[in-house]
Each structure stands twice: as C-alpha cells, then as structure tokens.
Amino acid sequence: MQAGSLGAGADPLASRLPVTVITGFLGSGKTTLLSRLLRHPDMNRAAVIINEFGEVGIDHELVEASSEQMTLLSNGCLCCTVRTDLQETLRELFVKRRSGEVIDFDRVFLETSGLADPAPVLHSLASDGLLGAQYRLNGVVTLVDAVNGMGSLDTMPEAAKQAALADRLVVTKTDIADAAVIEALEARLRAMNPYALISRAVDGMLDPDTLREITPASVKAMTQDPNRWLAGAGAELAPGERASYLGQRLARKNGVHDAAIHSFCLWFDAPFTWDALTASLQVLTALRGPDLLRVKGIVNVEGEPGPVVIHGVQHIFHPPMKLERWHDADRRSRIVFIVRNIPRASIESLFGAVGTLGASTGGP
C-alpha cells in the first residue's frame, strides 16, 4: 500500500501555538514596541498578553470590542492583560479560543515585566504539561536600550540575564544614542550571546515578520535547517574558542567585563547513548543549573535515524525532539551553551567523565 504511513503522528512544533516572549529592562522600549506591534496590520490573529492596558495606550478608534481584561482591535489583534498568573491566562485564552469566545489566534506575544527574569516563563512552557500540549516557545526577544543599556548591563544582573537568554536582541532608541555607544553595546551583546540575531528598532518600528519562526514552525522545517535555530545570528558554530574568544577580546577592548556570562559551542564526534546524554545533562543541571542560562543542541544519539534536538533553560529541559533525518553529512553533535561563571573546560570534562562512566559500565 502506497498510502500514508499508519504511524504518522502530530508534529510537536506545528501542532502547538507559538509563544514569543518579549522581555527587556525598564525603559528599554517594550511599551513603545508593543503599541506599534498591536497596530500593525500583520498582527491579525495574534494574541498579545501585556501587563497593563494603560501602558500601551490603545486608542478608542482601534478598539473593536473589549471587556475588562481583553480588547479586540480592529486589525484582528487580541490584546489581554495578565491578572492571575501567566499559566492560568494562557490556559484560559486557549479554552476561550476553542469555544469561539475569542478569535482563533494563531500566535501569542507575551510581555514580561521589566524587572522579570524571563526564565520562569520559559520553564512554564517546558514543564507545564497542560500548557505544553497547546503552546510552544517560539523564542525570546530581548530589548536593550541603546542609551541606558550599558548601565543596566553593568548594574542589574536581570538585564544581563535577559540578554543572555535571547534568541533575538533588539537595540532600541538608536536614533538618540551615540553611534560609538551603539557599537560598543552591540559588541558587548555579541560577546555575551553571539548566537542571537541583533537588530535595531527606532520608535518601536519592528516588522512583526522578523519575530516569526524564530524556532522553525514544523519538525520538517527544523530538519531542513537546525543550525538556524541553534544560531540565528549565523555565529560560528565551529569547534574551538573562536566565538567566545572573539567575544571576550571585544569585551576587553570595550572596557567591559561580562566574562561572567559567556557562550560557546561544544562538538562531539562520537554519538551519545541515550543513557550518557541523559546522565550528562542531569549531572550538569544538578551541579550548575542556575548558571546554565541556555542550552540548545543538535545531538547524535545511537539508534536514532536523525538528530535529537535538546533545549534547556537553567535546570529545566524541554522534552527532547527527534528529527526524522540529518540535514547534511556532518553527524557530529553540537551543543550551544550560554552560561554564567562556568568555564568551558569544566563542561567539557563533565561530558568526558560521564561519557567514560557510561562506557566503563558497559552500557547497552
């Protein structure tokens, strides 16, 4: 029978609504960006969860219908505020969508408050099974203010963490900042997180399209180009110190000291066994969870036809996702680490030790 395979199941990416987390320090321009986004014609069928309606200042003529916590805008964008906790808000939104009480939105933008650590939001999406059945993380967009960004990064650990966790970095207020300052800031961000794509936005002008498919929209798309997800900015994934070395050099040159947060990509020639991979990640999260800001990897696991995608934020990992096949001939595992105060060598030796352990105990 040539007909479709009986085993065909749902695509874990395509079957869930993508959530884009928008974060950034106080005054970084989140409100301006969100006000612009809400009005954009391409935001039809988007749901935007914000902290306060008052903040984004929605004009009355834009409002199609509204209730205490939700507003439907004339472009088809649904805007709502968080009153209880975020998980509850997302769950209720889905239930209302299903019953036709709100538009059938196809993506969600989520604003975190300026002081917030975005990690718990990412943890909720990874570990709340009910939520994870309906939603998936598309990516983290961090806004950094060109005027005050340096200061925030210097003095506020939350700001540095927001930048380190990002898939997209948006430098705002570049129209009123000195060109040298902007360059220095961008260099510093690149040093911290060379894998995030950096763009600039003046007065909140950002095409919502640039925030689409930060994570590919289906397993098929992910299979075709997993490296794009791994390093949206096209940063070198090549083995060696290049990315972090360059970053550190740039950082030193610019007179800043973010060596605490740095990133690198580890490559592994031999395939992992499931046991060795799981054990390595368990040991790593148990020992250094809080400092393991973000881990993204494409891993060759013995017995799997394609690579296994891993993704963790601090101590919480998403369920691993199996791709159907390798996108190119290079079957080596590659794992990107964005960490705080963990030398690259200690992660390398940990993987080495656990791997040896797996081998010496005569794993399957």
């Binding site: 029978m1 040539q2 007909a3 479709g4 395979s5 009986l6 085993g7 065909a8 199941g9 749902a10 695509d11 395509a14 079957s15 199609e64 219908a65 509204s66 209730s67 205490e68 916590q69 939700m70 439907l72 649904l78 709502c80 009153r83 808000t89 209720e92 939104l93 239930v95 209302k96 969508r97 299903r98 019953s99 036709g100 009480e101 709100v102 538009i103 059938d104 059945a133 289906s218």
Partner: protein
C-alpha cells in the same frame, strides 16, 4: 479573565480553526447536501476525482476534480429516479464504483446498489444493479468496497422479515467479482431481529432513543480478511468471523447503550495497536442526545472489549444549541486504497455543528484534540449552523469534508 469578550461569543456564523486551513469551498452547483459516501479515484490520466453521494434527492452523486485542491471543479452530477430514494453511500476501487440506494418506505425501488464503471469520470456507465428491495426492506444504507471483489453492506432483503420494522437492514456480503452479475455471498443479523429466530428480540432502547438494531458501517480490512467490524446502531459494536463468508459467526458484541444514548455508527480497527475506535452518530438536534462520543477501545482480546478513553468533547455551551445536530458521526476510515491517508495516531471525524476534528491518540488513554475546523453556517443553512457529515483524507493529507444539507465540500489542509 472571567468575562467573555462582547461580540466575540460563539456564533454559528463564526468559523473556528486550529491547525487546519481552508484551501477551497465548493457549493456543488447549489446541491451541497452530501451523505456519508466519499471516495477518491485516481484516473488513468492521473487526475484525482472525489466522488460524493448526496444525502437526499434530487441528486444521486457528484464527482469533483480535486487534482489541485485549491481549485476543485465539478466533473459530473447525476440525478436520482425519484424523490423517495437517496444514495447516501458509495465506495470506489480502481474504476469501479458502488452506489447505495435506500428508499423512504419499504417495498419501494430502486433499493439496493448500482455498480458503475467510472473509467471516464465525465460519463459514468451503469454496469449492473443489485436488488435488495422487499416488502420489509428500505434497501441499502451504507456500503464498504475496498478489495474490488466483495461489497459489505447494511441492507434489507426480500426474504427478510424483521421482528421490528426499524431492524430491517442487516449485514450482507455481495460477491461482485463478476460485476455484471452480483450475487449474495453471506449475511448475518443481530440475534432476535428476524421473525423465526430462536433468540428473543433484543431489549430496545427507551422510545426517544429507539433507533433500531441495524447494521451501519460494515468494515473489512486486508489485515484481517476474516473479520468484519460493524457498528450495529443500538446493538453496539459487533465483530464477526467471516473466514467462511457464507456463514459469518459472532465473535463479540459490545453493547454500551443503555446507559448511553444508542446509535453505534463505526468500528474502526487499528490492528498494530490492538485498538478499536468506535463512533456514535448524533441524530437529535439541539443537544437532544448529548453526549455522542468517539471511544477508544482496547481490543487486544477481541472477546473482551474494554473502553479505555473517549475523545475529549467539544464545549457544550458553545455547540449544543448552536443549531442542528452536535456530536460524533463519521470517521475517516483508513481505507486500504492508494488514494486514502492511513494513520493509527491521528483520527479524524465529523461532528455536525462541531465541524471536522482531528485527535491525536498516540497515548490511547489520553486522546488529545489536535486540530479542528468549524465552518461558519453555510448560506441558507436550514439548521442555522454547519452540519459536517463525513470526512475523507487523501494520501496527500488533504482533508475533504461535506455538509449534510447545503454547504457542499470544504477542502482543508492540516498543519499538525
């Protein structure tokens, strides 16, 4: 978020969608009431033609060229001989199509099925007619034809006198290996439903749910050519041993109504997983027989069927009073033919005003809603809401679904 958004409440004209996208909608030349017969032909010149049996007169069947699913074109639309007959069901193997005929009253004709040669889809050629009419027969309600050799069907017969008039359609096997001379190969009826049976007539449902002990869908798959899986309406799910077609033997009956509200419609086996998917048919408007369900049944031991889950229901408040019927009906039946999609993880069904819905049963204990599409009420819909009646998924994973009254054909893409 306690309050709902004013103006955005669930209205029948509202389209609802999750992981499904409308590619095209065709009103079928103003005759958009389709029954539960859908089949795809891949023609010799590699066109894809979807054949649809109408729900009621005046039209018999319509063929739609769906080679480009975004641009469906009607190829042919045929008439019934009179207003008191309906086709409702059809199936296709190669260039051979079987079309059922059921009459409104007993004793009328044509009651049985036609065999057509559809080698030239524009001009279907009648090969022969199998007569199932009789003084107590309304003819044939549903056919199953997937091997090119035997038609399995729910039908009456001239020599069959039911103990209750609603029990006239039983399971019949017809040999069509010589298409110009179809002959009966075997039959089975629910014990006690034929005058002269030694068994007493079965205990009927309470009057408001008493819809009969009749066969509905009668499915036989090449994986188990010795088994027939039958939805027997108020009799529940039935498995027969048909190794000897002339003498089908009962393997098991699983009757779950009462306490449920009757009308077992489809029994779909998922062989590699030891499961059955059993669907009801909702037959009352306005939530009158809610809940009409789709069940996951552990069938590893076929003589001890154990229900382990139901597909999650669509919200009552949104749909029960949205207009017309609201609840389970036809499933995409994994037809063992080249043009049909087959999956034992994703199950699609139509649910009348709840639209077409796809469920992920990777975990059979926890079926999950994976996708749905609820078209807004079709223009001039007598039910006031869409009434999706049947669904077919082709091997390209394109989803075809039809309205029972007027909306015609909706062609969808699943993005799961």
């Amino acid at each position: 978020m306690a309050s709902t958004l004013p103006g955005a409440g669930s209205r029948p004209e509202q389209t609802l969608a999750l992981n499904m996208r409308l590619l095209a909608h065709h009103e079928l030349q103003g005759f958009g009431g389709i029954g539960e017969g859908m089949g795809m032909q891949i023609t010799r010149d590699q066109r894809r033609v979807l054949w649809l049996a109408h729900e009621s007169a005046p039209k018999n069947f319509t063929a739609v060229d769906v080679t480009d699913p975004r641009s469906p074109k009607v190829v042919v639309q045929t008439e019934l001989p009179h207003a008191k007959v309906r086709s409702n069901s059809l199936d296709i193997v190669g260039d051979t199509m079987i079309v059922a005929y059921q009459t409104r009253e007993v004793g009328m004709k044509p009651a049985g099925f036609d065999i057509f040669d559809i080698g030239t889809p524009e001009a279907p050629r009648l090969v022969s007619h199998f007569d199932a009419s009789g003084p107590h027969s309304r003819g044939v309600h549903a056919v199953w034809f997937v091997d090119g050799e035997f038609v399995h069907m729910a039908g009456g017969a001239a020599d069959f006198t039911p103990t209750h008039p609603a029990d006239d359609q039983f399971y019949r096997i017809v040999d069509v290996r010589n298409p110009s001379r179809p002959v009966e190969a075997g039959r089975w009826w629910y014990p006690g439903t034929r005058v002269g049976d030694s068994a007493p007539p079965p205990q009927r449902m309470e009057p408001k749910f008493d819809l009969g002990f009749r066969a509905h869908n009668t499915n036989v798959f090449p994986e188990r050519p010795d088994r027939a899986y039958i939805g027997y309406i108020d009799g529940g799910a039935v498995i027969l041993d048909i190794a000897d077609k002339a003498n089908p033997k009962l393997v098991t009956i699983w009757r779950y109504s009462p306490p449920f509200n009757g009308f077992c419609h489809t029994v779909l086996p998922l062989f590699d997983r030891g499961l059955l998917i059993v669907s009801d048919e909702c037959v009352r408007d306005d939530g009158g027989d809610w809940p009409k369900l789709v069940r996951v049944v552990d069938a590893r031991m076929e003589t001890n069927l154990v229900p382990i889950a139901t597909f999650p229901l669509a919200p009552y408040n949104t749909f029960a009073h949205r207009g017309g019927r609201s609840g389970a009906h036809n499933l995409h039946e994994n037809l063992p033919v080249p043009a049909s999609w087959r999956s034992d993880r994703i199950i699609l069904g139509t649910f009348f005003n709840q639209g077409v819905r796809a469920y992920d049963i990777s975990d059979p204990y926890q079926p999950r809603e994976a996708a749905y599409f609820v078209p807004g009420a079709p223009k001039m819909s007598p039910a006031g809401a869409v009434q999706l009646n049947d669904v077919y998924v082709d091997d390209r994973r394109i989803v075809y679904t039809v309205d029972r009254f007027i909306g015609g054909l909706y062609i969808l893409e699943m993005t799961i």
